[in-house]
């Protein structure tokens, strides 16, 4: 199906099912119940699942396949965001041209930065990409303020030209991003008993783009190009002596992953039409590294899972505050509950970064393959048990 092997087609269908039914899957708890705070099925968060999924899928094409660890990919995301917002300001509020421009501009940036950075490998490559991204960040924050909006960020205004659209709506508001009349922010809710499910246009738009990106990533992974990239990671010397020039391959991978990042940035701006320099900071680059590794670097589904997990943790953990914890531990004696509240409080609320940091370290130390490896190990354990069972079952009649 779609020119894919059965296994890959199943994977694509699985991700598609996750994406389509996300509003249900992420809202398992009835509205108003104590557990409702763990629901994640609201538009803003679901959009981020899809957008960061795209970002991580693209990053994985570079890092997962070639092993080149870029610490500056957030720059492309930021560039994509700026490009999209400029399209909203100058052309129209239609998201399609905005996204196309975001991809093109970030691709050009990636071409230049990649061309220079890829002349080195290993840690030098990481430092070079980091240096370029920090330069972009610093410039966006200061000198380029006319283009980037500086500290306040780039925002839409009532007097923007929008030559194919309107500068302001009849009511005198700034128009909102849309797709040929469909507004991205539009949602409709469905109540089933005590459950409330939200279906948001913006989310489904992101999800469709994410599925397309995922499909493209599968094709790349299975293509000769993808194989060459893995060969680069495995043994560049042999590749050279086999008559292949690694440089254009790595550059192509770098540009493709930069374009994925730009696409994510463009979508981000399409959901909420503003862009700020902090999106380019190196901590943001670190975040996509985290997602990719958390999910499983070099695997197809890993980055999607990693992005989902990290964004879910960010939202859910940061919502748990001291009051919630005190409620949880209230059954304990006073002194004990205080201690527990104090200890667990380190990992939730504003401190949720500690949790992700710790999990990230644990993953690198014990589970370099991330969630995908975890899944494999667990299913491997079951399979082993099954094998044992069948063996003993076979052995019995013989006795």
């Amino acid at each position: 199906m779609f020119g894919l092997e059965k296994k890959d087609a199943n994977l694509l269908l699985f991700v598609a099912a996750l994406a389509i039914f996300a509003p249900f899957i992420l809202n398992p708890f009835p509205e108003g119940s104590a557990m409702a705070q763990f629901n994640a099925g609201y538009p803003d968060l679901m959009q981020r699942f899809a957008i960061f999924g795209i970002f991580a899928i693209g990053f994985n094409i570079l890092f997962g396949l070639t092993g080149y660890l870029s610490f500056g990919h957030a720059a492309f995301l930021g560039v994509g965001s700026y490009a999209a917002v400029w399209m909203f300001k100058l052309l129209s509020m239609n998201v399609i041209p905005a996204i196309i421009l975001a991809v093109i501009i970030s691709g050009l940036f990636a071409l230049v930065i990649g061309y220079v950075s890829l002349r080195r490998s290993g840690i030098y490559f990481s430092i070079l990409t980091l240096a370029f991204a920090q330069m972009c960040f610093a410039l966006a924050y200061s000198v380029l303020t006319p283009i980037t909006g500086g500290e306040t960020g780039l925002q839409l205004a009532l007097d923007d030209p929008r030559i194919l659209g309107v500068s302001q709506t009849p009511e005198g508001n700034i128009p909102v991003p849309g797709l040929f009349g469909l507004e991205m922010r539009e949602s409709f809710e469905m109540a089933v008993g005590p459950w409330v499910f939200t279906f948001n246009i913006g989310y489904y738009f992101c999800a469709i783009i994410m599925l397309l990106s995922f499909y493209l990533a599968i094709r790349i992974f299975r293509s000769p190009f993808g194989m060459m990239l893995r060969a680069i990671k495995s043994n560049q010397q042999r590749l050279n002596y086999t008559g292949l020039n690694p440089r254009p391959y790595t550059l192509a991978a770098f540009v493709i992953s930069g374009m994925y990042a730009g696409l994510a940035g463009g979508l981000m701006a399409s959901m909420d039409p503003l862009a700020g320099a902090e999106r380019m900071q190196w901590t943001a680059s670190g975040e996509v590294v985290l997602m990719t590794i958390l999910g499983g670097v070099g695997t197809l589904i890993g980055p999607v899972l990693g992005a989902g997990l990290l964004k879910y943790m960010e939202n859910i953990l940061s919502k748990i505050n001291k009051g919630v914890l005190e409620g949880w531990f209230s059954f304990m004696p006073d002194g004990m509950s205080d201690t527990f509240v104090f200890l667990t409080n380190l990992f939730v609320g504003k401190q949720w970064h500690i949790t992700t940091g710790v999990i990230f370290m644990l993953v690198i130390i014990f589970l370099p393959g991330g969630l995908v490896e975890l899944g494999k190990r667990i299913s491997g354990m079951f399979r082993k048990k099954d094998d044992d069972n069948t063996k003993s079952a076979k052995a019995e009649p013989a006795e």
């Binding site: 293509s223 060459m228 008559g243």
Partner: protein
């Protein structure tokens, strides 16, 4: 004129003259061995042929055009394949994938962005890879991870990866180093077969005299960066200069 013409090649590393005025001519469809004691400059010479090193002086012509200043992948595209002293393969890839990469390089050149079509749709290349794997008796290992194989198998795979490109010149850098006697004999048989079946020229650097005298049509003895003698195996065997150069070296003539 040989297919490979090395003229007055010199290479210096700091104060060390690694190669001085090396002249070498490898005739088409022969097996030419380069022997010599440790430090004679054999590896330096080889590296000058494949673009890893650029000689300070002299010229290296292959098939009528110069290889100097070209990068290893360009030289491979001209028709030179190299087997390394320790097998260089793509350890993270399967045996089959290891075979496909040289085939793509042969068909598509040094670079082609074929990112959409699947590897599995390349039926004719897959067919060629299968044939080659059968030739080296590795077809049953086609789905194995290359890194998990024995050293002998890795060597055979590397050889197969070079041969599947149908190179005009095959360079072998001590292909039997560290091999058990049985494996060495297998390799000799394999190389003999290749020599007979294909229109191929082989240049081999080797320590093991048994291998050299089983395969070589011509032998060049290198000592202290310069060729001492070049002759047929029969004449080399009793040559006094060669004995002298190898004095103190272990040999199995």
């Amino acid at each position: 004129m040989g297919i490979l013409e090395v003229k007055d090649v010199g290479k210096r590393f700091g104060g060390l003259q690694a190669l001085g005025d090396v002249n070498l001519s490898v005739k088409e469809q022969t097996c030419h061995a380069i022997i010599g004691p440790n430090g004679a400059g054999k590896s330096t010479l080889l590296n000058c042929l494949v673009g890893k090193l650029i000689p300070d002086t002299g010229s290296v012509m292959f098939d009528g055009s110069s290889v100097l200043g070209r990068s290893p992948h360009e030289i491979n595209q001209m028709g030179i394949s190299r087997v390394f002293q320790t097998p260089e393969i793509f350890g993270d890839l399967t045996v089959m994938e290891n075979m496909m990469i040289p085939l793509f390089a042969k068909r598509d050149g040094a670079y082609r962005l074929h990112a959409i079509e699947s590897v599995d749709s390349e039926k004719s290349l897959i067919e060629q890879a299968h044939q080659m794997l059968e030739e080296v008796n590795m077809i049953d290992k086609r789905d194995m991870h290359a890194a998990s194989m024995s050293r002998g198998d890795k060597r055979r795979l590397e050889m197969a990866m070079c041969l599947v490109q149908n190179p005009k010149l095959l360079l072998l850098d001590e292909p039997t180093a560290g091999m058990a006697r049985a494996d060495t004999n297998n390799t000799i048989d394999l190389l003999k077969e290749i020599k007979e079946k294909r229109d191929i020229t082989i240049a081999i650097i080797e320590h093991d005299m048994h291998v050299v005298f089983s395969l070589a049509d011509r032998i060049t003895v290198l000592a202290q960066g310069t060729p001492l003698v070049e002759d047929t195996p029969e004449n080399i065997k009793g040559h006094p200069k060669v004995q002298e150069a190898y004095l103190g070296e272990t040999q199995q003539v």
